[in-house]
């Protein structure tokens, strides 16, 4: 075990996979000479050379599509899209091609590629650079979407994504790159795509999050413990497929739930979680499932506005308190 950052976990894993398999290579904007906008690929160009660490022109549709085509011939490209906001330019290639090729042609050709891309607001990047649109991928059959919230998961999930034969989008988050955690040394374990994790056991209420909000959820749960509230925390980890059993099982035990998400509320990821709970745990639910999400506005640049619009430990705590009150429990 060593304690490393989420960034380091991604870099070490990508590097190890490139050593393990000659078919694995990295491509994306500014990942080589510039060493990555967020430095995930630092040092890789020097180590592997231009053939396997490719700086692309600014052409998201073109280079993501090229990665899909290369994967059709058996290569295993790991594409970095600088931020998920820019992935909109490649959406046709991802949704109408990567996600369709296996099924549309009757299962003749798989698309073993990985797209790594960070979401996340809170950096004062303004309306077009602060979005959380993982929904666009999580909605699409044929794609797999995973969202690690810890360095250990980042490593095990990137490994799983690279070895999987389907197009996998690995959601990162600007707010997680510097977060630290224990990661097993020269580990080769592969996470199972499609499984959520109960990261904290509890009986009072279930808090469900993913990516950055899974981290926030754990922090909130720790603080709630000091108030004597014993929250169970679920890190979704996989947005597609979605692990409904784990969610429903937990809520059937706790009787109430709050979803914490970084995207917009209406039609956001949390909507499916709430819909799933009301259908799967209907008879055990003591209060409506609440969702804590971003205010529905183009995110402003000004700090006070941005801060107010984003979900936080405080807003999550408030929603938990109100939900517990709704089930008739006395809280702070």
């Amino acid at each position: 075990m060593s304690v490393i950052t989420y960034r380091q976990a991604l870099r070490d894993t990508l590097r190890a996979e490139m050593h393990r398999d000659e078919n694995v290579f990295a491509m994306g904007e500014e990942i080589g000479v510039f060493e990555g906008s967020y430095k995930i690929t630092e040092g890789l160009l020097k180590e592997f050379g231009e053939r396997r660490v490719r700086d692309t022109p600014i052409a998201e549709e073109g280079f993501v599509g090229a990665a899909i085509g290369a994967s059709m011939l058996g290569l295993r490209p790991v594409v970095e899209v600088m931020t998920i906001n820019f992935s909109l330019l490649a959406l046709d290639q991802i949704v109408n091609h990567a996600a369709k090729i296996y099924g549309m042609f009757g299962g003749q050709n798989s698309v073993p590629m990985v797209i790594r891309t960070p979401g996340g607001g809170g950096q004062q990047l303004g309306a077009t650079h602060s979005q959380n649109i993982e929904l666009y991928y999580s909605f699409v059959p044929g794609l797999k979407v995973i969202a690690p919230s810890t360095p250990a998961d980042a490593a095990a999930m990137l490994r799983a994504a690279i070895r999987d034969n389907d197009p996998v989008l690995l959601l990162e988050n600007l707010g997680l790159y510097n977060s630290k955690g224990e990661v097993p040394d020269d580990d080769d374990s592969v996470a199972e795509i499609g499984r959520a994790a109960v990261t904290r056991e509890g009986n009072d209420i279930t808090i469900i999050g993913y990516s950055r909000m899974a981290m926030i959820a754990s922090q909130v749960a720790e603080n709630l413990a000091d108030e004597g509230i014993n929250a169970e925390v679920i890190d979704l980890r996989s947005l597609r497929p979605l692990d409904r059993e784990t969610i429903v099982e937990s809520v059937s035990k706790t009787g109430s739930a709050v979803v914490a998400e970084d995207d917009w509320l209406t039609y956001g990821i949390g909507a499916e979680i709430a819909a799933t709970i009301q259908e799967g745990a209907f008879d055990w639910l003591d209060a409506p499932v609440r969702r804590v999400a971003m205010a529905e506005v183009p995110l402003p640049y000004a700090k006070p506005l941005e801060t107010a619009a984003l979900p936080s430990a405080e807003s999550l705590t408030t929603a938990v308190h109100e939900t517990l009150r709704a089930v008739g429990r006395r809280v702070g």
Binding site: F25, R51, R54, T56, P57, A59, E61, G62, F63, V64, G65, A66, A67, I68, G69, A70, S71, M72, L73, G74, L75, D92, Q93, N96, H97, I101, Y102, G103, M104, F105, G106, G107, Q108, N109, S110, V111, P112, P141, G142, K144, D164, N165, D166, E192, I193, G194, R195, S238, P241, L242, D243, R244, E245, V248, A275, T276, E279, G280
Partner: protein, 366 residues
């Protein structure tokens, strides 16, 4: 670059859409092996009859969805496919029945796909726009205009990455040269020295929008200049001209490891798809098309040259008709895919919690 681009027979188009092929610069029938010429004729005729039968089956509702035919593009297709080696890869748009047959897929497999049967080349999952066969290396049939360009570029990247000697051919229509993917793909292919030949089938229109009304540089082969990609134009209604231009470029792509752009000039003889009456076409245009029907023209040229005898003609026509009839019968008698297979092709690697819900099912099966 535009100035270095050589214009092969075909030349520039007049505003009326007429085009003349400068036969003097074109390869001649005389200099070809009769057997070769008859083979081209047979393959062109097969595409013609296949598409006529497809149109018929469509109007009889044996085929659904959109249905775009290659009528008028037979010489182009045979010329292009003759230039490719078996190991070379092909990506096309949705107007690809003829390519599928010419690249080596059986008429049965293509027709059965059109009928949506499990014996179809894409198991009935793709239909008219989505022919695919890993064996013969036709890597699709794509319905999104321009969608095949980045994919084909990526396939060429894989070839280059492995140091292979295959070439990728990426077919597209004239209207497709105006979409962003064209720009991004040609730039990447040139920047990374990829062995790929982009082929623009200039059939004079998108659906009803002419090249002049869609492309600010209507001499499409010149558009490679923005990427230092050499462009060539050929008469798409002359199978020999297409074959020679395509062979030259594919072999140069192979040896020089560079991308090239080939524009073939032809004319869509019917509407955009089977259901389009093409009212927007002038009489003159339709007449020009008829009088320059590439199959009829090649046929009479071969007859005039004494290469195609009455007997040979009858033999070929009969065998082609037989092959098409057999394909239609095969399709007709093939089974429909079973509904139980609906969830078989969502993922190549099985995954936990994948949804296999039918529309009426609850999220949680009892």
């Amino acid at each position: 670059m535009a100035d270095t681009a050589k214009s092969k027979s075909g030349g520039a188009r007049g505003n009326g859409g007429r085009r003349r092929s400068r036969k003097d610069t074109a390869p001649t029938i005389a200099s070809e092996q009769p057997a070769t010429l008859l083979d081209y004729y047979r393959r062109m005729l097969l595409i013609r009859r296949f598409e006529e039968r497809t149109a018929q089956a469509y109007t009889q509702a044996r085929i659904g969805g959109y249905c775009h035919l290659n009528l008028g593009e037979e010489a182009t297709i045979v010329g292009l496919m003759t230039a490719l080696h078996e190991r070379d890869y092909l990506f096309t748009n949705y107007r690809e029945h003829g390519y599928a047959v010419a690249k080596g897929i059986s008429a049965r497999g293509v027709m059965a796909e059109l009928y949506g049967r499990s014996t179809g080349v894409s198991k009935g999952w793709g239909g008219s726009m989505h022919m695919f066969d890993t064996e013969v290396r036709l890597l699709g049939g794509y319905g999104i205009v321009g969608g095949q360009l980045p994919l084909a570029t990526g396939a060429a990247l894989a070839v280059s990455y492995r140091g292979g000697d295959e070439v990728v051919m990426c077919q597209m229509g004239d209207g497709t040269t105006n979409i962003g993917a064209f720009h991004e793909s040609l730039n990447i292919a040139s920047l990374w020295d990829l062995p790929i030949v982009f082929v623009v089938i200039n059939n004079y229109t998108g659906m009803g929008t002419t090249v002049e009304r869609a492309s600010a540089e209507p001499e499409l082969y010149k558009r490679g200049s923005a990427y230092r990609v050499e462009g060539v134009r050929a008469d798409g209604r002359d199978v020999l001209a297409v074959r020679d231009a395509a062979t030259d470029l594919t072999e140069r792509a192979r040896s020089e490891q560079r991308p090239f752009l080939l524009e073939t000039m032809s004319y869509r003889m019917k509407g955009h798809s089977v259901v389009d009456p093409a009212k927007y076409r002038t009489k003159e245009e339709a007449e020009e098309a008829r009088s320059n029907d590439p199959v009829a023209k090649f046929e009479s040229e071969l007859e005039a040259a004494g290469v195609l005898t009455e007997d040979a003609k009858k033999e070929i026509q009969d065998s082609v008709r037989a092959e098409v009839n057999d394909a239609a019968e095969f399709a007709e008698n093939s089974p429909h895919p079973d509904v139980s297979t609906l969830f078989d092709y969502t993922y190549a690697t099985p995954v936990a919690n994948e949804s296999r819900r039918m529309p009426a099912d609850p999220v949680f099966a009892e």
